[in-house]
Amino acid sequence: MSFKELLEDGPRVVNIGMDRFYLDLLDQEVPAVKVNWKPPLVKSSLMEKLKRLRGDDIE
């Protein structure tokens, strides 16, 4: 999306994380989609070890 399109057509928003921003946009009738995502509970080093045990491809 170009800056011109953003100004003319308005933003298309995908919200990840806290709900408040997403809800505020809805209140202002701005279309938005919420992705229900949370960070892992464990440090990235431990998550990587778990993924290796599971056989995930680790970049």
């Binding site: 229900n36 949370k38 960070p39 892992p40 509970l41 464990v42 431990l46 998550m47 070890k49 778990l50 993924k51 045990l53 599971r54 056989g55 995930d56």
Partner: protein, 420 residues
């Protein structure tokens, strides 16, 4: 250990869980039938707990159990009896047993005996007392102790004879089938057991009449069962327990076999980490409160009843129970959302337990430790909440999310175990 092995191990654990066939086979007194039940022993809910760390509802229920057993004749003496180290405390889970809320089991309490048909393994749970002032909520007043004596002296022998007649005529009473039917009748089997209780009574009454038709107490026994919507909860929990026990140790599996709370700590066990507990502080339930109570009255989360969610029902099947959602503070859409969220952290979908409102999709079953820590989604429970002070009873009910720290500890242990 690679993807194939962990996936295969979880598949083995999941299949063992789904193959389990729990059935009611008998009743007995705890001291006579529960393995390793010692003299002056009291079992409690959740992970191991010393008297010094017990919360109000457990202290209240222990006080009531000591009065019921006749080890002391006043509440003050009962507390002193426990504080002086005269009672041996152990978790229900260490004795193939489970108990709702405080989960107290003392030697002379009658218990359900549930057997897993394929393995012959057994599990145990007390008879449900009803709502209000009851031992499992930490109450120990005279009416509580009198009811427990009535249950031992009247309910227990009549029900035992009825069950023995049922088993002689039909074999064990199939609880998996009963749970499956109840999910289609509006129960989620943790906070709503109305359909399951009705089906249990429908199954047992003909045998009760055959066995006890001349007994003037029969009508009182049937009225007691019919007057308690949660009468099924305890054998239902024992059905879940023996099914998860039949999974046992599965090398490489990250599937949970136990979730339990004791009012102080929350603990889990994982199929691939033998019988180790991973614990943290129990959640403080933010639930819908009964009139007259405030948030300050609520005790930390308590009870072995989390075994229902570990089994794939309870909060995980909330979408099946629209009638309960207002009681626990939500809407039918919330119930659907909770169930859908739990699919994210489970090994699979249950082919025996299905949800009509989700086009008969199977309930999310077999909590996967790795998925929990990866997604940041911890299990939700649909549970009751007890007053933090001994003797006050229930203060509310609602949805409680399990704390993450126990899962983090288990994930660290899993990596340590399988990185060798």
């Amino acid at each position: 250990m690679t993807l194939n092995n962990i996936e295969k191990a979880n598949s083995v654990a999941f299949d063992k869980l789904l193959r389990a066939e729990p059935q009611i086979v008998d009743l007995g007194l705890a001291k006579d039938v529960i393995p390793g039940f010692g003299e002056k022993m009291i079992l409690h809910a959740g992970p191991p707990l010393t008297w010094e760390r017990m919360s109000g509802p457990i202290i209240g229920a222990v006080t009531g159990a000591i009065l019921y057993e006749g080890w002391a004749d006043t509440p003050e003496k009962a507390r002193a009896f426990a504080a002086e180290g005269n009672v041996s405390f152990d978790p229900c889970h260490h004795h193939n047993a489970v108990g709702p809320m405080a989960g107290i089991v003392s030697p002379n309490l009658p218990v359900w005996i549930i057997e897993e048909k394929n393995s012959g393994k057994k599990s145990y749970a007390t008879l449900n007392e009803g709502l209000g002032k009851v031992l499992r909520m930490g109450a120990f007043s005279d009416e509580v102790i009198e009811r427990l004596h009535w249950m031992r002296e009247v309910l227990y022998p009549v029900l035992k004879n009825g069950i023995r007649r049922y088993v002689a005529d039909n074999g064990g009473l199939n609880l998996k089938s009963l749970i499956s039917q109840s999910l289609h009748m509006g129960d989620e089997l943790h906070n709503r057991n109305r359909a399951a209780t009705s089906l249990l009574i429908r199954s047992l009454v003909p045998s009760l009449i055959d066995a006890e038709s001349d007994n003037p107490d029969l009508s009182k026994v049937v009225r007691f069962m019919a007057g308690n919507d949660h009468f099924f909860l305890n054998p239902g929990m024992a059905a879940a327990k023996v099914s998860l026990d039949s999974v046992g140790y599965v090398e490489g599996s990250s599937m949970l076999t136990v979730m339990a709370r004791n009012g102080t700590d929350f603990g889990i066990q994982v199929a691939g980490l033998k019988n180790r507990w991973f614990t943290c502080q129990a959640a403080l339930p933010d639930v819908l409160l009964f009139p007259g109570f405030t948030k300050e009255d609520v005790n930390r989360d308590i009870g072995d009843s989390a075994i229902m969610e570990t089994y794939g029902v309870g909060g995980f099947a909330l979408a099946a129970a629209p009638a309960i959602v207002q009681f626990v503070g939500g809407t039918p859409q919330d119930a659907l959302n909770y169930t859908k969220e739990m699919y994210e952290i489970c090994v699979g979908e249950n082919k025996h337990f299905t949800i009509p409102s989700l086009n008969f999709r199977g309930t999310p079953t077999g909590i996967d430790l790795i998925k929990v820590v990866e997604t940041g989604i911890t299990p939700i429970l649909d549970t009751g909440a007890a007053h933090r002070e001994a003797g006050k009873g229930q203060v509310g009910a609602g949805i409680v999310r399990m704390p993450s720290e126990a899962f983090v500890k288990a994930a660290e242990a899993f990596v340590e175990e399988y990185s060798k």
